[in-house]
């Protein structure tokens, strides 16, 4: 069965076609997947609203009086948030092998990156608020709703991570046989990261296209 024809035949045989896939996931995993799916849809609706209002508005966007968003801060924010998923992955791998120190240090690193992100966002807000607010016009409303709602999600994610860290520091919580919650929180954190990429594209990059 080494030739190509054999491979195709094997993959399209009755047995291969009846492979059970997906299989063996836990209830908690599925629960988190569904939760993330519904949250992702919520963000899709908000971003969709952004594009809808933008295209209904007319040629100048952002509306007169508001300049197109600067890119430096958001790019730095991206550079902080997106890599913050790596320590979580590393931590999760660690606890699967029962290495508690990896769990703890990985989570701590992610906490630092996440808090940095929020601090950067706060400084960006401080600057923007002098220019326009949520009540200036629909653009302002969209900007603060979408970024603020994402910021709230970062905060929720950080709460989860902090909670895991606290539970792990207390001891007796996680190990190679029990790491489900770590994985679920990690999934949520990756999701928050990905949403940020979509927001970066929508709010910061798309007005320049």
């Amino acid at each position: 069965m080494s030739d190509r024809g054999g491979v195709v035949a094997a993959a399209t045989g009755a047995e291969a076609l009846s492979t059970e896939l997906p299989v063996g996931r836990s209830a908690g995993w599925w629960g988190m997947v569904m939760f993330v799916a519904t949250e992702a849809t919520l963000f899709a609706c908000l971003l969709g609203s952004y594009f809808y209002l933008r295209f209904q508005y007319g040629p100048t966007w952002p509306p007169a009086g508001i300049e197109a968003p600067k890119l430096l801060t958001p790019l730095v924010m991206t550079a902080v948030l997106v890599p913050s998923s790596l320590p979580v992955v590393w931590a999760e791998r660690g606890i699967r092998q029962g290495q508690r120190w990896r769990l703890q240090s990985g989570l701590a690193a992610t906490m630092v990156l996440g808090v940095t992100f929020l601090a950067l966002q706060a400084s960006e807000y401080a600057e923007k608020l002098t220019q326009f607010t949520m009540t200036t016009d629909a653009y302002g409303s969209l900007f603060y709703l979408i970024t603020g709602f994402h910021g709230l999600h970062v905060m929720v994610g950080l709460t989860m991570i902090g909670w895991l860290l606290a539970a792990s520091l207390r001891g007796g919580s996680f190990g190679s046989h029990r790491h489900e919650r770590v994985r679920n929180a990690a999934m949520y954190w990756h999701f928050v990261d990905l949403v940020w990429v979509a927001i970066l594209f929508t709010i910061y990059l798309s007005p320049r296209l």
């Binding site: 836990s26 629960g31 899709a44 609706c45 908000l46 029962g98 629909a138 007796g172 029990r178």
Partner: protein, 642 residues
């Protein structure tokens, strides 16, 4: 497991005693508030949704009384606005979906052969949130602050400057609050059906009702966020001065409408789909055969739940889209009728090929087919654009959607109530009383709503609190009103029947109908642990299947009895191979506390007590953190190396 030296198979008396010890909840006040048993929670959903149905129905009776004669003065225009808005909102959000989720909660674990839902505490939480959100919305009515802008709350009328007062804040916050419950329940249904099916119940052996509930839950997961986003923006617009729906500052009123119908169209199917699942569950028992074309019904359920997302532009006739882009959506709305038709024909074929047993549940199923098909027929008439523009916003529309909703949801629910009453309460209902109820409901429904087609065509607009005397209007309006009283009497008889059964009914045997699904293999009402031994499923109709019956009795093995602890079995996603036994949570008060904190949060937001809202939000976070806090375990058990 056949080669081990375990004690002889079958459930022993010791097993039963241990199961009872681990699962039973002592009757106490605390036990009442802290239960996580899916059967008690399901029952509560049914009763609470029934209560909201009564409130919404009474609102409708007041409206019909007002409209019986031209220029009557029973209620003021402002009161009338609140009545029809609360009637519509409550019927859709607080009655239809929760009622069907109540059936789902009670039945899904029984039908798939499990001991509870996948997340029992989340389930309890969902119920409390539903109850509180419903009370939150209804409580506004006595204060004259109820939603007053119709159930779909179009912009710009939902905006602060056009509609001051708390009315639409109650709507936005109430639905956001309720959305938590609906989403939680949906996730729970999906995971339960994926992971807790009895060994052997591969996807091709899953009961149609469970398919329907799962498809509904998927629709909720992907449709409800649109409504939540919409209501979030509405609340921000009204309270904090944003401009999402305000054209004078770059917003757009159509944004509300689009988002609403992205949710609203699937929502029609969210309401009807599980009800159709009830029909598929009831039919086998009263036709003495399986539903014809099982894979085709699964196909119809799955494809409807997908296509329903592609038809929302349907509701936006007057918006001047390019015709071409409109046609992509109308292609979907044309084709979606095919799977709906498949189901109807499959049921008709089942009835033709089977031996009919004409009991009350079957009567309601027949009433459903007649009414629903008529509603579908008037629906097809809307596809003619000219006709649609003629009757839009007239009573013709009101007639149409009551045929669809009462035919498609209420009749199947009533069939389900009579069918599962023996299982839920352990008592039989009174057959004669049930027949009377059926005929009164059926006649009342048609006498109320059929004339609405007529005076709708004669030009009577909907959502008017009164009307001038016009030829063709007065008489038929009076007929409608009389019909609605008849309908109310019929529904009252249903209630009397239920109370009578609970109080005086003959004790029900485990399987009074010789039904085909697993709930009939349990006691009536089921023990707290549902099954002494979890079944091993061998066919699509396990209760008609001897090998499955054997697996529950003499063939029961320790790996499916699991009497040492509060445990149930987790199986694989597609083919239900046993994976492992898992520990189920004990009863707890935390779900109630969490829901209470949310109630305080939403109430404070409504009344603009923001500091209180902040405290409540912190309480929410704290409760969740405590809820999930892991118990301390020894390192060896956890597997820690360093």
């Amino acid at each position: 497991m056949s080669t081990t030296t375990t004690p002889p198979p079958g459930v022993s008396a010791q097993d039963l005693a241990r199961l009872a010890e681990h699962w039973a909840e002592r009757p106490s006040l605390r036990g009442w508030f802290s239960t996580v048993d899916h059967k008690r929670i399901g029952r509560r959903y049914l009763v609470t949704a029934g209560f909201f149905f009564v409130l919404a129905g009474l609102s409708a009776l007041v409206m019909r009384t007002q409209l019986a004669r031209p220029e009557a003065g029973v209620v003021s225009p402002q009161e009338y606005n609140q009545l029809f808005s609360m009637h519509g909102t409550a019927m859709i959000f607080l009655f239809a979906t929760p009622m069907l989720f109540g059936f789902g909660n009670f039945l899904v674990p029984l039908m798939i052969g499990s001991r509870d839902m996948a997340f029992p505490r989340l389930n309890a939480f969902g119920y409390w949130v539903f109850l509180f959100a419903g009370l939150f919305m209804w409580a506004s009515l006595p204060f004259g602050a109820a939603p007053n802008n119709g159930w779909f709350a179009y912009a710009p009328l939902n905006q602060e400057q056009h509609n001051p007062g708390l009315h639409m804040d109650v709507y936005a916050l109430g639905l956001l609050f309720l959305g938590i419950s609906t989403t939680a329940a949906s996730i729970n249904f999906i995971v339960t059906a994926l992971k807790l099916r009895a060994p052997g119940m591969s996807l091709n052996r899953v009961p149609l009702f469970v398919w329907a509930i799962v498809a509904t839950a998927f629709m909720v997961i992907f449709a409800l966020p649109a409504l939540n986003a919409d209501n979030l923006m509405l609340f921000l617009d009204r309270r904090f001065g944003t401009h999402f729906f305000d054209p004078s500052a770059g917003g757009n009123v159509l944004l509300w409408q689009h988002l609403f119908w992205i949710f609203g169209h699937p929502d029609v199917y969210i309401i009807v789909m599980p009800a159709l699942g009830i029909v598929s569950a009831v039919l086998p028992a009263f036709t003495r055969r399986g539903v014809v074309g099982y894979p085709l019904i699964v196909l119809s359920i799955v494809s409807i739940s997908i296509i329903s997302f592609g038809v929302w532009v349907h509701h936006m006739f007057a918006t001047g889209l390019p015709q071409l882009s409109y046609s992509f959506f109308s292609a979907a709305s044309t084709i979606i009728t095919i799977p709906s038709g498949i189901q109807i024909f499959a049921w008709l074929a089942t009835m033709l090929l089977g031996r009919l047993v004409l009991r009350v549940p079957l009567l309601f199923v027949i009433g459903f087919v007649v009414t629903f098909v008529l509603g579908g027929f008037t629906g097809a008439m809307f596809a003619v654009t000219a006709f649609d523009q003629q009757v839009t916003d007239s009573y013709f529309v009101v007639a149409h959607f009551h045929y669809v909703l009462i035919g498609g949801a209420v009749f199947p629910m009533l069939a389900g109530i009579y069918y599962w009453l023996p299982k839920i309460t352990g008592r039989m209902y009174h057959e004669r009383l049930g027949r009377w109820a059926f005929w009164l409901v059926f006649a009342g429904m048609h006498v109320t709503f059929f004339p609405m087609h007529l005076y709708g065509l004669f030009g009577m607009p909907r959502r008017v609190y009164t009307y001038r005397s016009e030829p063709g209007w007065d008489g038929w309006n009076l007929v409608s009103t009389l019909g609605s009283y008849l309908l109310a009497v019929g529904l009252l008889l249903v209630l009397v029947g239920v109370v009578h059964a609970v109080r005086r009914g003959r004790p029900a045997p485990p399987d009074p109908w010789e039904g085909d699904s697993l709930e009939w293999s349990t006691a009536s009402p089921p023990e707290p642990y549902n099954f002494p031994a979890l079944p091993r499923v061998h066919s699509l109709h396990p209760a008609w299947d001897e090998r499955t019956a054997e697996s529950l009795g003499a063939g029961a093995t320790a790996d499916r009895i699991l009497s040492d602890g509060r445990r149930t079995l987790v199986t694989s996603e597609l083919d239900a191979h046993p994976e492992r036994a898992v520990q189920m949570p004990e009863s707890t008060l935390k779900p109630l506390v969490l829901a209470g904190a949310l109630l305080i949060f939403f109430t404070s937001m409504l009344l603009a007590w923001y500091p209180a809202a902040a405290v409540a939000a912190l309480a929410v976070v704290a409760t969740i953190a405590v809820w999930l806090w892991p118990p301390r375990r020894p390192d060896e058990e956890l597997g820690v190396t360093g």
